[in-house]
């Protein structure tokens, strides 16, 4: 299911076009390239960022770096630049803030830090009620609701997940944004998976139907592999439904075909985990222990690997946070040490000056005192 989350990486992007060579401003160029060539967009933004731009430009560049890092599946950079962007943004940058909070929430979700996901998405949801958010931004609203739905879905809170999917769908339906159509289908697809978890198969099938209409036509703006992935997930959902209905032959047929197709694909992704899981469930229904054990083992191995990969990111993130904390700690220390040394120098200089002065006037007083005593 995690692949669906990755599809979201396009949620906050801009459309690229062929004329980027003529754009001289690196910020505009990076923004235009964000979707079509995220790697290049990141490099341009990173270079421009080093030239200490003004706050507004800084925020735009940080957003590009956050979003492209998300697209390039580099959670460490997403978290680094995303949080930096949030610290740069002010009260007027509500829309950018919401987008960044969404990306951060999505990233934490990808590395299974659900609590952090919820914190960021709750903040984003809170900002949605800001008077600065026009109704026309229903596409962004839909994205945040969608991410929240996915978060609850991953936490196995399917009732809440469903209510957020419905909210997201309503927003997408009223949106005229070019990406709204495919995101709507993503929402229908995951709504279907949630309904399957609840064993509400008839509604799940309806939702799946809506997830599959004209996918290719409505999503020409997306690279074709993402459309294919959407179709694969629809197939997976169908196989799951057949499995629950104990129609194992149909289910196995779909799943084995999927595996066959994926054999030729150079990319291995989490969809195979679910394929193995459903296959093992199906063979359990047919009392085929050997095949069940075989697919169960494959599933558990892949699951362990997925968890290990997520753990690797969490460990890397912790190491990054530790490093940043150390840098921050060094900055604080050097700031205070500088202030302490400066204060000591100032006070010591003043003290020495006053001491010398005091010694001088004391000497004068002694002389006068002696004179006075002579007169007494």
């Amino acid at each position: 299911m995690k692949q669906i989350v990755i599809l979201l990486l396009f949620f906050f992007g801009f459309l690229g076009n062929a004329g980027t060579q003529q754009i001289k401003n690196p910020v505009d160029k990076a923004e235009k390239l964000m979707l079509v060539n995220p790697k290049s967009a990141f490099q341009i933004a990173e270079k421009a960022y080093q030239n200490s731009p003004d706050r507004k430009t800084k925020l735009r560049l940080l957003f590009v770096m956050t979003n492209t890092s998300s697209m390039l599946q580099n959670p460490l950079n997403v978290i680094r630049y995303g949080n930096e962007a949030l610290s740069v943004a002010n009260d007027n940058d509500v829309v950018t803030k919401i987008k960044i909070l969404g990306i951060l929430g999505n990233t934490y979700q990808a590395i299974t830090l659900n609590e952090k996901t919820r914190i960021y998405l709750d903040k984003a949801e809170l900002l949605l009620s800001s008077p600065k958010i026009p109704d026309s931004l229903s596409y962004i609203k839909g994205n945040i609701y969608y991410l929240k739905a996915m978060n609850y879905f991953n936490s196995l809170d399917s009732d809440i997940a469903l209510s957020y999917f419905d909210k997201a769908i309503n927003q997408y339906l009223s949106s005229k944004h070019p990406y709204a159509e495919l995101n709507l289908k993503l929402a229908y697809l995951n709504r279907a998976f949630t309904l399957i978890e609840q064993k509400n198969l008839s509604q799940a099938l309806e939702s799946l139907k809506l997830a599959g209409i004209n996918t290719r036509e409505t999503s020409q703006i997306y690279p074709p592999q993402f459309v294919d992935l959407q179709s694969e997930f629809i197939e997976l959902a169908k196989a799951k439904i057949y499995s629950i209905q104990k129609n194992t032959d149909l289910s196995n047929g779909i799943l084995l075909k999927m595996l066959e197709r994926r054999k030729n694909s150079p990319v291995r992704d989490d969809i195979e985990n679910d394929v193995y899981k459903i296959l093992s469930d199906n063979y359990l229904i047919t009392k085929d222990i050997k095949k069940h054990d075989y697919y169960q083992e494959l599933y558990l191995k892949r699951l362990a690997q997925t968890n290990k990969d997520a753990a690797v990111w969490v460990n890397k993130l912790m190491a990054q946070e530790k490093l940043h904390s150390k840098i921050e700690s060094d900055r604080i220390r050097s700031k205070y040490v500088y202030s302490i040394v400066l204060s000591l120098v100032i006070f010591l200089s003043l003290f020495i000056y006053l001491l010398m002065r005091q010694l001088r006037i004391k000497r004068k007083r002694s002389l006068l005192e002696k004179k006075v005593l002579d007169h007494l």
Partner: protein, 440 residues
């Protein structure tokens, strides 16, 4: 098998006995372990959230074990106490676990033999979790069949621990020694294991049964135990995910608090320097001011003395017969030798009467020959009288100003002080102080 009961016993001991630090530490260790076995990970994590340096070695080893189970990399620790066998064993086990997981080692037999050697003389209770992780790693890793001797030896060392028995039985099943495994399974206290609160052990037990029934192709029992195994797995998985989140939050909080605490400490040092420095500067300035006041006072005194010296006698107005004036001057000299001027009622009239003259002659004589009016003349006599007393009789220096004023004929001490200062340039107190210094 019953960590919840262990918790009750620990609570009882803590509430009813006066424990020393060593006993408290041991109970804390047991408490964390019990929480861990019960899958109460969030509570366990809170107890191990301290910095590694602040934790006793046994708890530090347990912390590393718990973090390992969550796949969280523990901090690199340089506190390797080479005298502590438990820590050495833990470090070596953890290292081997990482090497095997990352496929960095082909033949782990020498390392396993070394670990066994250390384990034989270590605290097995402390080493338990890490050794168990190692066992499961080898059981689930088919390529490492060389681990058999290690598992057998550990089963002997932990002969009453069902977890090691279970893992060994799993090993036997994996290596097609089902007959040997079944004997072990039959010897397990099945009912107790079903009832126990240690979810990890429970999960391992169901997993063993699943593997066994799969091997003998008994579908019904296989399915029944698979369901139970999946249930415990889901509980463990959900708790571990939540615990990982919790640990990340604790980690972030600790980093934040460390920086805040450092900031506060250095801020306090800066404030102490600023306040202390300011206080010292103020004190030095006050001292300077005091010295300057004294300097001014001495300068005034000296200038008055110089003024008196430079004062030229004024031309005497001749309104009074010379003979009368000489007699009056003689009488005044005699008067000055007495203490009569200390009479507070002394006035121009009373003195004129006393000297058998009139006030006009007396006033004129004083003005002409003493270059001052009658009041100044009397006050000067009084002040000089008291100065003589102060110089001659040190006891006078201890008297109060009020007494000195009365003694010299002044009706108020403020008038005395004012006249004294106008004549000497010094206050009576300063004058007495200087006299004391002079004598010293």
């Amino acid at each position: 098998m019953t960590p919840d009961k262990a918790m009750d016993v620990i609570d009882f001991l803590e509430k009813n006995f006066l424990l020393n630090d060593d006993e408290k530490e041991k109970l804390e260790y047991l408490k964390i372990k019990s929480l861990f076995f019960q899958n109460r990970l969030t509570e366990a994590l809170k107890k191990i959230a301290k910095d590694d340096d602040e934790l006793p070695e046994n708890i530090l080893i347990l912390k590393q074990s718990i973090l390992y189970s969550l796949k969280i990399k523990a901090d690199e620790n340089d506190r390797i106490s080479y005298n502590n066998k438990d820590y050495i064993l833990s470090a070596k086990t953890m290292q081997l676990l990482r090497f095997v997981e990352d496929n960095k080692i082909k033949n782990p037999a020498p390392q396993l033999a070394e670990i066994l050697k250390i384990a034989r003389s270590s605290n097995l209770f402390i080493a338990r979790e890490n050794l168990l992780y190692l066992c499961y790693l080898f059981v689930n890793n088919d390529s490492n069949s060389s681990a058999g001797f290690f598992l057998e030896e550990l089963m002997t060392l932990y002969k009453n621990d069902p977890d090691f028995t279970i893992v060994y039985a799993n090993y036997l099943i994996k290596h097609n020694r089902t007959n040997d495994a079944v004997q072990i399974i039959n010897s397990l206290p099945t009912e107790d294991l079903e009832q126990m609160t240690n979810v990890y052990l429970k999960h391992n037990f169901y997993e063993l049964l699943v593997n066994y029934y799969s091997k003998i192709n008994d579908f019904d029992r296989y399915n029944e135990n698979l369901l139970k195994k999946d249930q415990t797995f889901q509980i463990i998985d959900k708790t571990q995910l939540s615990a990982k989140n919790k640990w990340f939050n604790i980690f972030e909080e600790n980093l934040k608090n460390e920086n805040i605490s450092q900031s506060e400490k250095l801020g306090n040092v800066l404030w102490i320097i600023i306040l202390g420095g300011s206080l010292i500067i103020v004190l030095v300035l006050l001292r300077s001011r005091q010295t300057n006041i004294q300097i001014k006072m001495y300068e005034d005194f000296i200038s008055k003395i110089d003024l008196i010296k430079d004062k030229k006698p004024q031309q005497i107005q001749q309104g009074i017969p010379e003979k009368t004036e000489n007699i009056l001057l003689k009488k005044l000299e005699d008067f000055e030798k007495t203490d009569a001027f200390t009479d507070p009622g002394m006035s121009l009239q009373s003195l004129a009467k006393k000297l058998e003259t009139n006030t006009k002659y007396l006033s004129e004589t004083i003005n002409n020959h003493k270059q001052k009016n009658f009041n100044t003349y009397i006050n000067e006599l009084r002040v000089n009288y008291i100065i003589d007393k102060l110089k001659e009789k040190p006891l006078y220096r201890k008297y109060k100003i009020k007494y000195l004023a009365e003694e010299s004929g002044f009706t108020t001490h403020s008038a005395f002080a004012a006249v004294f200062k106008s004549l000497t340039g010094l206050s009576p107190i300063n004058y007495i102080q200087l006299l004391k210094e002079k004598d010293e």
